[in-house]
């Protein structure tokens, strides 16, 4: 049905032509310090499935947010249904028929499938009461049309997540959606569930809806796309037609950063005779993960968002319930099934979201730095003088910029907040330090300081695990990178072989 980009334009004189639903022209969006979306052009035809791929942080979510009215572009226009808009609001997007299907399902669990589908536009009888029989009939027709096999009277709360997603799609169709945006719709789905969903998406497109499909999974994209657009660092790299592009080409277009962006670290002698071994970790979405870190080594943990990296580190730290998994540290097995045991064993976890889970924002630098040491050391009383002295020492050692140790941490910059988190773990004498996205939301200058600190820690003989979505950072910093995908470790790459292509190929399931 779709042949080439130019053919669309040619065909637009033809009455049977595929109609342009959406046309984004030179849209940009900046956040402090980043150009998240840079003069991107994008269009979507009726009946088309247009896939969007890109690494973490390539600008996919910014794009979705602009289309769903959650973000206002700084410049550029969006032409929808023949009219130009410089920005949308959620209500306007809805009115224009733009429906975003999220995985966190926005349905009422205590209502039936039929009631959910027609929520807000229920048919009524002459008395103004809800007309159940029409409701049921219309829902049935709608579901049959989409080839969804569900009983319309079942409560939504009793459905599985993929079934709920089907209901959500049906609901969007009932609201006469013209443009569908699916963002990572298949995360944690089994392969048969994925196929089901892809069929449904094809069915929806066949009804003339334009679908924007965002995914990390290349097989899915290759099985469903009409066109595919690649984003990188907020820029559009290319748009390809079906069958005109290979996996390798897509991956090479997703990567390809300028080498000058890479930080150059100082290398450290690794002590291979000492190690911490994590063996057979399972629990939640994580399946049978094993790997080791040597003394003085920085090991990277890569993978797309949703690949289970954060779950894994919480599991290692005893913060999530594990089904299995043992830790052998320098030859001895240690039992870790709670954070306090992990801390006793010398582990620390610098969480991904330091404001939500790492810091107590309204407490002082002093209290934040001392809390782990204080909670896990012997004795009942606080030695205030020692506490103040130690906190002061750490502040100087890693150069935290704060007017005083009594400053509330919410007033510090992102980089200094991260250093406070680091200081609290160092004060607690950690040997094995897990950094989850250590430089997210931190300006470039502070990033380098954090990198230097990490190298210094490696020099001091610590064991370091670094989870990151920032590919240049992983490649610059790590002695070795393990890659996760769908809860498993799917690859391990040594420093000399490390490249963006390799990491990405493992993360999105390409063939190496």
């Amino acid at each position: 049905m779709l042949t080439s980009d130019t053919e669309f334009i040619r065909e637009s004189d033809n009455p049977d032509k595929p109609k342009i639903l959406l046309s984004v022209k030179a849209c940009s969006k900046s956040f402090p310090g980043v150009k998240a979306f840079n003069k991107v052009d994008f269009d979507l035809y009726a009946g088309e499935i247009h896939c969007v791929v890109g690494e973490n942080g390539a600008g996919k979510s910014t794009f979705i947010k602009m289309l769903s009215g959650a973000l206002r572009p700084d410049e550029g226009v969006m032409i929808i249904g023949g009219r130009e808009y410089t920005f949308l609001t959620p209500a306007l997007a809805h009115q224009l028929g733009i429906q975003t299907i999220y995985q966190e399902i926005s349905l009422a669990p205590e209502l039936s499938v039929a009631e959910n589908i027609f929520m807000g536009q229920y048919p009524v009888n002459r008395l103004g009461l809800l007309d159940y029989s029409t409701l049921k009939k219309e829902s049935k027709v709608l579901l049959e049309n989409l080839k969804i096999d569900l009983d319309v009277e079942v409560l939504v709360g009793e459905l599985s997540i993929p079934e709920k997603q089907s209901v959500q799609i049906a609901k969007a169709m009932a609201m006469e959606a013209k443009i569908f945006i699916l963002d990572e719709p298949t995360a944690s789905y089994s392969s048969s569930e994925i196929n089901h969903l892809l069929d449904l998406v094809r069915e929806v497109a066949a009804k003339g809806v334009g679908v924007i499909y965002i995914s990390h999974h290349l097989e899915e994209i290759f099985s469903i796309h009409d066109r595919i657009t690649i984003l990188r660092d907020g820029n559009k790299v290319a748009t390809h037609l079906k069958n005109e592009v290979t996996e390798e080409q897509i991956i090479s277009e997703m990567v390809g950063r300028d080498l000058s962006m890479f930080y150059t670290r100082e290398m450290v002698e690794i002590d291979y005779s000492n190690s911490i071994i994590f063996k057979g970790f399972s629990g939640g979405d994580v399946k049978d993960v094993s790997f080791e870190i040597h003394k003085g080594e920085i090991v990277g943990l890569a993978g797309m968002v949703g690949s289970g990296r954060t779950d894994l580190v919480r599991l290692l730290f005893g913060a999530n319930q594990k089904q299995s998994g043992t830790v052998i540290f320098e030859g001895d097995e240690v039992d870790i099934s709670s954070p306090s045991q992990a801390i006793q064993a010398g582990l620390s976890l610098l969480t991904e979201d330091r404001q939500k889970t790492g810091l107590i924002l309204e407490h002082s630098v002093k209290w934040n730095v001392s809390v782990v040491q204080l909670a896990n050391s012997k004795g009942r009383l606080i030695n205030e003088r020692l506490e103040t002295q130690s906190v002061d020492d750490y502040i100087h050692a890693i150069d935290i910029k704060t007017p005083s140790i009594y400053q509330e941490v919410r007033f510090l910059s992102g980089g200094n907040q991260q250093k406070v988190v680091l200081a609290k773990w160092l004060y607690a004498n950690s040997n094995i330090i897990i950094f989850d996205e250590p430089t997210r939301g931190i300006d470039i200058g502070s990033k380098e300081e954090i990198y230097k600190l990490m190298v210094q820690l490696a020099k001091d003989g610590k064991y370091i695990l670094m989870v990151s979505s920032d590919m240049p950072e992983l490649i610059a910093m790590c002695d070795r990178v393990v890659v996760m995908r769908q809860g498993r470790i799917v690859g391990e790459i040594d420093r000399q072989d490390l490249s963006e292509e390799k990491v990405l190929t493992y993360s999105i399931g390409g063939i190496l």
């Binding site: 730290f317 913060a319 709670s338 954070p339 306090s340 992990a342 801390i343 006793q344 976890l349 969480t351 404001q355 939500k356 889970t357 790492g358 810091l359 107590i360 924002l361 309204e362 407490h363 002082s364 209290w367 809390v371 782990v372 204080l374 909670a375 896990n376 004795g379 009942r380 009383l381 606080i382 205030e384 007017p403 005083s404 140790i405 009594y406 400053q407 509330e408 919410r410 609290k424």
Partner: protein
């Protein structure tokens, strides 16, 4: 940057955030006292000062426990009815069983402690919001207080009067002594004992506290236990003063203790507040009540005014915390 910064550090340590609200409160208190002493020459007499302190001692002791729970992010609404239960048991022990005063004191404290432990377990294990959980438990204790006393007032027949009315040196009422001593102990715990600091951490950010290796449940249960224990202890002062126990006594305590704590700078969501602040909050609330009495505001109107003041205080504190949580998102 060490030598010349030492002075600044010392100053900022004194005027750090939590202290500051204590100073504000102290300022308000002084202004109120000055105004009142102009309005009524009897206000600043030794007698009236001890009168206010004595009146506030029961609420004050209860509030210390409630404030500890609040700092850990927990609300305890049961204190009033736990107090009534302990009062019933103590009154029966005095009048029916004829236990000696020492045993009576122990027994009332035990009743409060057991109730507190139970509250803590229910709140932490059911994972119900603590406000709702203790609202339910409050009714349970209300029923228990009625069951214990058979629905009747129990008279102490002149016994046990010393506990709540004796004046040390003929001037300082014993309840004021209890109040001050307990305040100092709780202050010490919250400031110099690791347990106290951990409560602040739990209330400030439970997830961060958990990841710092702090066992949330154990600490919260202890906070509730202290709250129950202090309510049990307070029941002794109340029955001693009025010479009887009443199954419906203590109903105003939950609201007033939370209000006093909030006025004293404790955040409703937990994690913040100092014990000196709570102490001043209790005193301020008493001062307002005393002033209304001196100005001969009829008691029905006093309720309306007190309630309004409480709502205003809590709202102001809430606005503060909302503004604070309004981080750039």
């Amino acid at each position: 940057m060490s030598e010349n910064n030492n002075n600044t550090k010392k100053i900022s340590s004194w005027v750090n955030k939590s202290n500051r609200s204590v100073y504000y409160l102290l300022g308000i208190l002084i202004i109120a006292v000055v105004i009142m002493s102009f309005l009524d020459p009897n206000f600043l007499t030794q007698r009236n000062i001890f009168n206010v302190l004595n009146q506030q001692s029961t609420l004050g002791i209860v509030t210390m426990g409630v404030a500890m729970a609040m700092i850990a992010g927990c609300i305890d609404l049961t204190v009033g009815n736990v107090l009534a239960c302990a009062a019933g048991v103590a009154a029966i022990a005095i009048s029916h069983w004829g236990l000696s005063d020492g045993w009576v004191i122990l027994l009332a404290c035990l009743v409060g402690l057991v109730a507190g432990v139970f509250n803590g377990i229910i709140v932490t294990k059911t994972k119900i919001d603590s406000f709702i959980a203790t609202l339910g438990l409050m009714t349970v204790y209300q029923g228990l207080a009625l069951i214990i006393s058979g629905g009747n007032n129990i008279y102490l027949q002149g016994k046990f009067g010393w506990f709540g009315t004796y004046k040390v040196g003929g001037i300082v009422p014993l309840p004021v002594v209890y109040f001050v001593v307990i305040t100092i102990v709780v202050y010490f715990v919250m400031r110099y004992v690791k347990y106290g600091r951990k409560l602040y951490a739990i209330g400030g950010n439970p997830e961060a506290a958990f990841l710092a290796g702090i066992s949330l449940d154990v600490h919260k249960i202890i906070a509730y236990s202290v709250s129950g224990l202090l309510a049990g202890f307070t029941s002794l002062i109340v029955i001693s003063r009025i010479g009887q126990s009443q199954p419906a006594m203590g109903v105003s305590y939950p609201l007033e203790s939370i209000a006093a704590a909030v006025i004293g700078g404790v955040a409703l969501g937990g994690g913040k507040g100092t014990i000196p602040g709570v102490f001043l909050g209790v005193i301020l609330l008493g001062l307002i009540r005393n002033s209304l009495n001196i100005m001969r505001v009829p008691s029905f109107y006093q309720y309306v005014m007190l309630g309004s003041i409480i709502i205003i205080a809590v709202t102001l504190s809430n606005i503060g915390s909302i503004r604070k949580s309004g981080n750039p998102s």
